[in-house]
């Protein structure tokens, strides 16, 4: 029986090769849990979900919070969040927290994959295709954005050493090719 396969699995070797120098680290972080949460932030349900997550649902647009156990909750819209959790996290926990109340908890783990773009040239690399100001003073840890990178829609999560690029699975190969091509000047 074949194994399950992540969307950018075929690019793993080339990501690794591009990461050999000092300038960049590219990798897919496969099989993370992604959960789309829609709920009125003022509702008790939102509080119950926050309790389960161990962090409040951030209400300030384009921000993200990190809870214990390596869970990031990113603002996607005024009543929409993306929970990014380690592999194996159970979206059911959140669905139970919501209960019968109005809102939605949808497991979208396989809808997008997570690409790591890190290293000293990470910002230069993304600037080839992202119109946001990625300067750390503007877009550092604690921020998040839904935007476009090249010709794909992405969720960007800045980290100390770079960025997580969450891209739709069907675009993963395109995104990988684009990143590797954009990296040409930074890896040779």
């Amino acid at each position: 029986m074949a194994e399950r396969r992540s969307p950018a699995a075929a690019h793993a070797d080339r990501f690794e090769a591009a990461s050999r120098g000092e300038g960049l680290r590219l990798a897919e972080l496969p099989f993370l849990t992604h959960v789309n949460v829609r709920v009125d932030p003022a509702s008790p349900a939102a509080g119950d979900i926050a309790d389960v997550l161990g962090a409040p649902l951030p209400e300030e647009p384009c921000t993200a919070v990190t809870a214990a156990s390596d869970i990031t909750v990113a603002w996607l819209g005024p009543d929409e969040w993306l929970v990014v959790a380690p592999e194996g996290y159970q979206p059911e926990l959140l669905r139970k927290a919501l209960g019968e109340r109005h809102g939605s908890v949808v497991d979208v783990s396989a809808q997008r994959t997570t690409l790591l773009v890190a290293g000293p040239h990470a910002r230069d690399l993304l600037a080839h295709g992202c119109a946001l100001d990625l300067h750390p003073s503007v877009f550092g840890p604690g921020r998040c954005a839904q935007t476009t990178l090249a010709r794909a829609q992405v969720v960007l999560l800045p980290r100390q050493d770079g960025f997580l690029v969450l891209v739709r699975s069907s675009f993963a190969a395109y995104m990988a090719e684009w990143l590797l091509d954009a990296a040409t000047e930074y890896v040779t």
Binding site: G129, S170, Y174, W178
Partner: protein
Amino acid sequence: MRRENGGRIDRSRTLRFRFDGQEYTGHPGDTLASALLAGGVRQIATSVKLGRPRGVFSAGSEEPNAVVQIEEPFPEPMLPATTVELYDGLVARSLAGQGRLATEPDPARYDAVHAHCDVLVVGAGPAGLAAARAAAGAGARVILADEQPEPGGALLGSPDEVDGVPGAEWAAATAAHLEGLPDVRVLRRTTVFGYYDDNYLVAVERRTNHLGAAAPAHVARERVWRIRARQVVLATGAHERPIAFAGNDLPGVMLAGAARTYVHRYGVLPGRRAVVFTANDSAYAAALDLAEAGVEVAAIVDVRTAPGERWAARARERGIELLAGHVVTAARGDGQLSSVLVGATGDGGRSIDADLLLVSGGWNPVVHLFSQSGGTLRYDEALGTLVPGASRQAVQPAGAAGGVFTLPGCLADGAAAGARAAGPHAGPHAAEAPRAAEPEATNAPAYWLVPANDYSAHFVDLQRDVTVADIHRATGAGLRSVEHVKRYTTAGTAHDQGKTSGLLTSAVVAHALGTSVAELGTTTFRAPYLPVSFAALAGRDRGALHDPVRVTALHEWHVAHGALFENVGQWKRPWYYPRPGEDMETAVLRECRAARESVAAMDASTLGKIDVIGPDAGEFLDRLYTNLMSSLKVGSVRYGVMCRPDGMVLDDGTVIRLADDHFLVTTTTGNAAMVLDWMEEWLQTEWPSLRVHCTSVTEQWATVALVGPRSREVLAGLAPGLAVSAADFPFMTWREADVAGIPARVCRISFSGELAFEINVTSWDGLRLWTAIMDTGLVTPYGTETMHVLRAEKGYPIVGQDTDGTVTPHDLGMSWVVSKKKPDFIGKRSFTRADTSRADRKQLVGLLPEDPGFLLPEGTHLVSTATLPEPPVPMLGHVTSSYRSAALGRTFALALVKGGQGRVGERLYAPVAGTLVPVTVTSHVLYDPEGARRDG
């Protein structure tokens, strides 16, 4: 004629290049123009219309004359020789108006970068450097962009000092200081060429052009910078203005400031014996510098009767004859300048031998970007030129770009502009300006045109060969707008876009019409400021990266198994899977037979999928779909159609009810994003009170359609825990089960009319599921073509193929999907409009060619007569789908035909390649109309 020393060239290295077949040498730091001048080449190009010889006229990107073709290392058309940095191995040739494109693809790489800053300073001359220093000193994030390889601008072409050191040294030190700051970016060889809304500016950086064949292949040759700036300082300098007189196009006639640049920056003497023709003081500096460098300056011809006192005195001290109140009436020579006629006015006068004639009609601020930004321009009578007026964006001119023409003035203006632009960051020290010597200049009135009886050799636009006489002809023809004159004469439309000729054209027109330039205005300044290569603008959006290639989780398997692919929107979908020796027809017939007679599988993952959740989800879907969705039972599936408000079909798909408050909607492959947007639009803008949330899950799920009479058997084998009988698992229901050990949602739906199942697993598991299905050895993979045939045999339309935005559900024979109970749904009201309710609308029917082997081309039209009348021929409709059917043993087609549902049984004719093919109209359902096969 190279000077013994001086200039900012590296004399320790020699570069070899060829021009018009001749070998020449130059040095790093040269342009092609300076190296050719050093090599004694006077004619660089031939004029476009009259075939006249043309030489180097300027020292910058405003060059109208010396436009060349690069042949090696790679052909590039029409570059001003004044902007081509010299490199070893350059091969160029003179041009006569038209450039040449390479026949081979360009191997170079191009890219683009987004950048953000508090202050963008355009131009690294004295004003720009002062501005950048002031802004950066105040803590602003600064980008300084300059088109030259080294900063300094006009300082590079003069001996002037700043802060007590030579200007070029000061510029280099200032740039180095700026580059050392963390939030300052200095872009060399970078031309800001467009200024758009919301302080969005685009620039092109020429990164490896100057390296010639040595350019590293992995480095982008040109890079487009997309800059979003909080504030912009335009320190773009000024262009010197020519004067129109007879023969002013001869090689040897040059702008005065350019000659000065050749001497100082490139260590080149552009001639041996010069006459200077000026209307202002600035050309005196050029005359003195050239004389100092060894050029014999025969005379300064100053149109003013009273030139600036101190400049006049210095010229006389130097022994230069000063002819005040005089004009050059003609430049003469055979192929290049040999003498200059000088007179008090008008025609004729005294002849002075010269091979160089320096001209200065004054200076025009480079206001192109300011104008592009939406700022207004004001005609300044004192300066005789256009200067920036009111700005519409956060932009300010600085230095010569704003009409400040002295060095101390530019430095002070730049520093002040930089500090202002830095805004709240600005500290008290920020505005402190670099210092330079006091100016010695006086204002000069504009002077454009030397009067004459014959204006046929007074050139206004050198590159387009437009003379004053041509302009007079245009005004004589009745034209009164400078835009009309431009179009009549083509003035200003050449490669230089009228940088030196634009205002002169306006002046000549104004003169001819007895009005003023202020009154008349000029033509519009349009982007790009300089010509920009197509390739730079295309960047990396080419080939595979031109548009995203979307693939499913099964894509690698399809590739490995020889599928041919069809582009469906951005998706790559398997089209069919030919076996060795099979053509498409054979492969598709085989795939169809497998689906009808045995079992086949298709990757259906590209279908859009949307989770619709909330207590009002049913009500919401009732409003969007033409049929009733709220009545759907949990565990069931229903087909639905959505219309636009105008009643035309928008999309179709299945809706499954997962829970009371939870539906999963599928869309067509191409419309997934549109349908989600559609839902959000209605929810957010029209029905915010509906408690519904929509979430795309298109790629969460991989979907496999398992089709055919043996599909139940295959599924039963893979999902032992699932009761698969028709009774246990009825048509249009769904079940959860482990399939091949993978948690799956299985739907019993069919787009083929056969017994079929649609198996959904997470896309991570898609390949596992598919492999397990294929490992049974029973299942034939099939692609979109077979899917199309199977559904067409059943009369199922494909939105976008059998519909074109003018088709209602009724037209498709699907009145059954349009609820009569619901008071309203999107599109309902439109069905009763006069045209939408006509009985003879085009309706979907089946067609059977009378020759069962004849395949109607899709797109063929239908007529009612056995012979064709004269055009226009009345057309009844067209073939939307046409296939060979393995199941029917013949060809068939679907068509939209006027009143088609009433024509069943009629014979119509299809004009194909000159003959009329008889066809019979049938129901659009041709295969298993009773629906007997769907239960297997």
